[in-house]
C-alpha cells in the first residue's frame, strides 16, 4: 500500500531532499572539523600523547606575549587597512560607474587583475620590490627623494606599511567589483533628479551612493574583516613575521605552533577558536551598527 502525502508536504519533502546533499557536505567538511577542533582545544601534549586539560589552554593565552603581539599586529592591519581599502574601492567604483568614461572595461579589468594573482607570488614580488637594492629604493633614490636606501622590511613600521600596501593592492579591485554591481542597481533617475535639484557630485556620493550601497558596504566590511583576521600568506612570505615578530599575524603564529615548533595542536586550536570568536563578535557588531532595516 502506498502512502500518499498531501501535496504541501510532498513539496516540502522534495525541497528538503534538494538541500540534503549540500547540508551533508557542509556538515561533514566544515562543522565536523570545527567541533573536533573545539574538542582539541581542551587537550595538551605533542601529537598522539594528548590529554584532556579543560580550559588550561584558554588560561595560557593570557600569559602568551607572542600571542598578544600577533593579536596586536593583526588589529593594526585591520584598523588601518580595511577602512582604507573600502574607501578606495568605493571611490574607484563610483569613478568607473560614470557613463561618460571611455575604456571602462579596460580600467575595471586593470584594477581587478591583482585579484587573479597568487597570494604567495605577489608577496614574494613585493618583498623583492622593497628589498634594500630593490625597485622602490632605486626609484626613490633616482628621484632624489631619499639619499640612503630605506630598509623597508628590516624596520617595524615600514614593514607593516608594506604589508598593508600589499593587501590593499591585492584586494581593492575585488571589493570594487561588489560596489560596481551595487551601483548598477541604483536607478540613474535618482541621480538625475538630484542633479536637477542642484546637488554637487560629492553630495550625490554622500547622500545617494553611500546610503543605497549600505548593505554591500556591510558585506564587504565583514568579508574584509574576516580575511584580515586570517591573514597568513602575506606576512609569512613578505616579512616572515620579522623584524623581531613585529609583523607576525595570528594565523602565522598558529602555523608556527603546529608545524615549526614542537607541535602543540591543542594550543593552536585554542588560538584558532579565538580568531573564530573575534570574527563572530566583529561581524555581529558591524551588523548591529550598519544594518538598521529592522
Amino acid at each position: 500500500m502506498k502512502i500518499r502525502l498531501p501535496l504541501e508536504k510532498r513539496r516540502k519533502l522534495v525541497s528538503w531532499l534538494f538541500l540534503l546533499p549540500a547540508t551533508l557536505l557542509i556538515a561533514g567538511m566544515s562543522f565536523y572539523p570545527m567541533i573536533k577542533a573545539f574538542l582539541l582545544s581542551f587537550t595538551k601534549g605533542f601529537g598522539k600523547t594528548s590529554e584532556f586539560v579543560g580550559t588550561y589552554n584558554y588560561q595560557r593565552l593570557f600569559q602568551d606575549s607572542l600571542f598578544k603581539t600577533a593579536l596586536g599586529n593583526t588589529f593594526i592591519y585591520l584598523i588601518i587597512q580595511v577602512p582604507l581599502m573600502l574607501i578606495l574601492a568605493l571611490i574607484l567604483a563610483s569613478l568607473l560607474n560614470n557613463p561618460k568614461i571611455k575604456c571602462k572595461g579596460l580600467f575595471r579589468t586593470m584594477i581587478f587583475l591583482p585579484c587573479a594573482t597568487s597570494l604567495v607570488s605577489y608577496s614574494i614580488i613585493f618583498r623583492s620590490m622593497f628589498a634594500l637594492d630593490g625597485f622602490a629604493n632605486s626609484v626613490l633614490m633616482n628621484l632624489n627623494v631619499i639619499n640612503k636606501p630605506i630598509n623597508w622590511i628590516g624596520e617595524i613600521w615600514p614593514a607593516r606599511i608594506i604589508i598593508i600596501l600589499a593587501i590593499t593592492w591585492r584586494w581593492t579591485g575585488y571589493n570594487m567589483i561588489f560596489y560596481l554591481s551595487g551601483l548598477q542597481n541604483i536607478d540613474p533617475q535618482i541621480y538625475e533628479s538630484a542633479k536637477i535639484d542642484g546637488a554637487s557630485a560629492s553630495q550625490q556620493f554622500r547622500k545617494i551612493t553611500i546610503p543605497l550601497l549600505k548593505p554591500i558596504i556591510l558585506l564587504t566590511a565583514i568579508m574584509s574583516t574576516n580575511g584580515t583576521l586570517q591573514l597568513f600568506d602575506e606576512t609569512k612570505n613578505l616579512t616572515n613575521g620579522g623584524p623581531a615578530n613585529m609583523t607576525i599575524s595570528i594565523s602565522q603564529y598558529i602555523y608556527k605552533l603546529s608545524f615549526e615548533y614542537s607541535p602543540q595542536f591543542g594550543y593552536a586550536a585554542t588560538i584558532s577558536f579565538i580568531v573564530f570568536l573575534l570574527v563572530a563578535v566583529l561581524s555581529f557588531l558591524q551588523m548591529k551598527v550598519g544594518d538598521k532595516r529592522d
Binding site: 595538551k44 601534549g45 605533542f46 601529537g47 598522539k48 595560557r60 600569559q63 602568551d64 606575549s65 607572542l66 618583498r127 623583492s128 628589498a131 634594500l132 637594492d133 630598509n151 622590511i153 628590516g154 620579522g242 623584524p243 623581531a244 615578530n245 608556527k256 603546529s258 608545524f259 615549526e260 615548533y261 614542537s262 607541535p263 602543540q264 595542536f265 594550543y267
Partner: protein, 438 residues
C-alpha cells in the same frame, strides 16, 4: 538554421573534448596499474623524500644505482619534496595516524631531536641494523641518537668554514693565513682594516637569523639550553660573549645585515662582502660565481675567548631516517648501511658534481677528496673540511631547538636595534619558557 548549425558544431566540440579527456585518463590509469604490477613480484621500490635536485636527490639517485648493482630487485624512487613540506607532511601523517609517508626521509639536523623525541614510534630504530655508526663524525651521530638508540644515518656535512676573497685580503695586506686559527677579537680588528682599505665588509648575515649566533655557540661546545633541556639565557656567559661579538661586528661595519636569503647569496656572489661564514654547504653558493674562480680561499672560523672555545662548529646538514611504517624498512636500513654508511664509491661520485661532503669518515681518505680545487687556488679544501668535521664540539640541540632559535633571533634583532641586553635576553628566556611550559 544558423542556430542549429552552431549548436551541432558545439555539440561535436564538446563530445570531442570529452573523448580527449577520456583518452588522457586512460593513459594515467595505465601507468598506475603498471606500478601496482611491479609490487606483486620480488621487486622492492624504496620511496625517498628529499629536497635538492642537484644535491641530496642526486646523491640518493646515485646511491640507488650503486645498490642496484648487487640488488637488482631494489629500485629507489626519489620524490623531490621541500623540507618545510616534509615537516608538515610528517607531522600530519604521524598525528593523523595515516600511512602516507615514504620509506626514507631526509631531515634537517635542527629538527632531528624534535621529531624523534615527539614521535619515537614513527622512525625505525637503526641501532642493530648493522650500520657502523662509529665511522661517522661523532657530533652528527649524536644528533640522531635518543636514549641510546640511533635513528638516523648522517648525510651531508655542516662543518663550519669561512670563505675569503683572497684578492681583497691582499689589497688590505693580509693573506688567508692571517685569518686561520684566529680569535673573534683579531677577526674584528683585521676586518676593520679590510673595510678601511677596500670598503668591503668581511661578512653578511640575514637580519634576525640566529644561524651565525648558534654557530658561534656550538664552536665553544655551549648551547642555549642546559643539560636538563631548560632555557639557559640569563647567566650564560658564552651567549653574552656571542651576542657582544655580534653587536660589535655589526656596529663596526665588519658585518652587514641583509633581509633575506636571496640578498645574502647575492651579497656573496656580487662581492658586496669579502667573505662568507656558514656550514660548508655554502661552497655551492660561492662556486656558483664561476668568474671568481681562483680568488677564494677556505679556512676555519674564529674562536671565542671563553673556556672550551674552538675554531670549529657546525651549521645545517641533514640525515636520513627510515619510517617505521615502511613495509620495506629492513631493506631500507640495509640500503642506507651499504651506501651512505659503507660506500666510499658513492661519496667519490657525488663529491665532484654536487659538492656533497660526507660525514662518513672513511670517505675522507679517498682520492676524490684529496683532489686540489682550482676554484680555491688549488687548495685541497675537502680534506680540510673533513678534518674540521672531526673536531666539531658536540652539543644536544633538543626538542625545543626551533623555539630557542626563534627566541634568540628575536632577541638579537632587538639588541641590534638598541634594546638593552638584559631586557632582551630575559624577554627571550620568558618567551622560550612559555613555549616549553605546556
Amino acid at each position: 538554421m544558423k542556430r542549429k548549425l552552431l549548436s551541432v558544431t558545439l555539440m561535436i566540440a564538446m563530445v570531442a573534448c570529452l573523448f580527449t579527456g577520456c583518452s588522457k585518463n586512460d593513459g594515467s590509469s595505465k601507468t598506475g596499474s603498471n606500478n601496482a604490477g611491479s609490487k606483486t613480484s620480488d621487486q622492492v621500490t624504496l620511496t625517498v623524500w628529499c629536497w635538492d635536485p642537484k644535491f641530496n636527490c642526486f646523491a640518493m639517485d646515485t646511491a640507488g644505482e650503486i645498490y642496484a648493482k648487487d640488488h637488482p630487485n631494489v629500485k629507489v624512487e626519489v620524490i623531490e619534496t621541500a623540507w618545510n613540506d616534509i615537516q608538515t607532511k610528517l607531522t600530519t601523517a604521524v598525528t593523523g595516524q595515516s600511512n602516507t609517508l615514504p620509506d626514507i626521509i631526509l631531515m634537517q639536523d635542527n629538527a632531528l631531536a624534535k621529531n624523534i623525541i615527539n614521535y619515537p614510534d614513527a622512525f625505525f630504530d637503526l641501532t642493530n641494523s648493522g650500520i657502523k655508526f662509529d665511522q661517522f663524525a661523532s657530533f652528527k651521530t649524536a644528533l640522531g641518537t635518543v636514549n641510546g638508540k640511533n635513528y638516523s644515518v648522517p648525510f651531508d656535512n655542516g662543518a663550519a668554514i669561512t670563505c675569503y676573497r683572497t684578492d681583497i685580503l691582499e689589497q688590505a695586506g693580509y693573506t688567508i693565513d692571517d685569518f686561520t686559527n684566529i680569535t673573534w677579537k683579531e677577526f674584528i680588528e683585521k676586518g676593520k682594516v679590510v673595510l678601511e682599505k677596500t670598503g668591503k665588509p668581511l661578512l653578511s648575515n640575514q637580519a634576525g637569523s640566529p644561524d651565525l649566533l648558534m654557530l658561534m655557540m656550538q664552536s665553544a661546545g655551549a648551547w642555549v639550553l642546559d643539560e636538563n633541556g631548560k632555557p639557559n639565557f640569563k647567566d650564560n656567559a658564552v651567549l653574552k660573549e656571542v651576542i657582544d661579538t655580534y653587536v660589535e661586528l655589526e656596529k663596526s661595519g665588519v658585518l652587514v645585515e641583509v633581509n633575506d636569503w636571496d640578498q645574502y647569496v647575492s651579497s656573496i656572489n656580487s662581492t658586496t662582502v669579502a667573505g662568507a661564514m656558514n656550514g660548508c654547504w655554502i661552497i655551492a653558493t660561492v662556486t656558483s660565481a664561476a668568474d671568481q674562480s681562483g680568488l677564494w680561499g677556505v679556512t676555519n672560523i674564529p674562536k671565542l675567548s671563553c673556556a672550551g672555545a674552538t675554531n670549529y662548529s657546525s651549521q645545517g646538514g641533514s640525515s636520513w631516517l627510515v619510517c617505521a611504517n615502511s613495509k620495506n624498512k629492513d631493506v631500507a636500513a640495509d640500503f642506507l648501511g651499504a651506501t651512505f654508511g659503507g660506500s666510499v664509491e658513492l661519496y667519490e661520485t657525488i663529491l665532484p658534481s654536487s659538492g656533497a661532503l660526507a660525514t662518513y669518515l672513511p670517505a675522507g681518505e679517498s682520492a676524490a677528496y684529496a683532489k686540489p680545487q682550482d676554484f680555491f687556488r688549488g687548495d685541497t679544501i675537502y680534506l680540510k673540511i673533513t678534518e674540521y668535521a672531526s673536531k666539531v664540539p658536540q652539543v644536544s640541540y633538543g626538542v625545543y631547538n626551533y623555539e630557542a632559535r626563534d627566541a634568540i633571533g628575536t632577541a638579537i634583532t632587538k639588541i641590534v636595534a638598541g634594546t638593552d641586553y638584559n631586557t632582551a635576553i630575559s624577554e627571550a628566556q620568558k618567551e622560550l619558557e612559555f613555549q616549553m611550559g605546556q
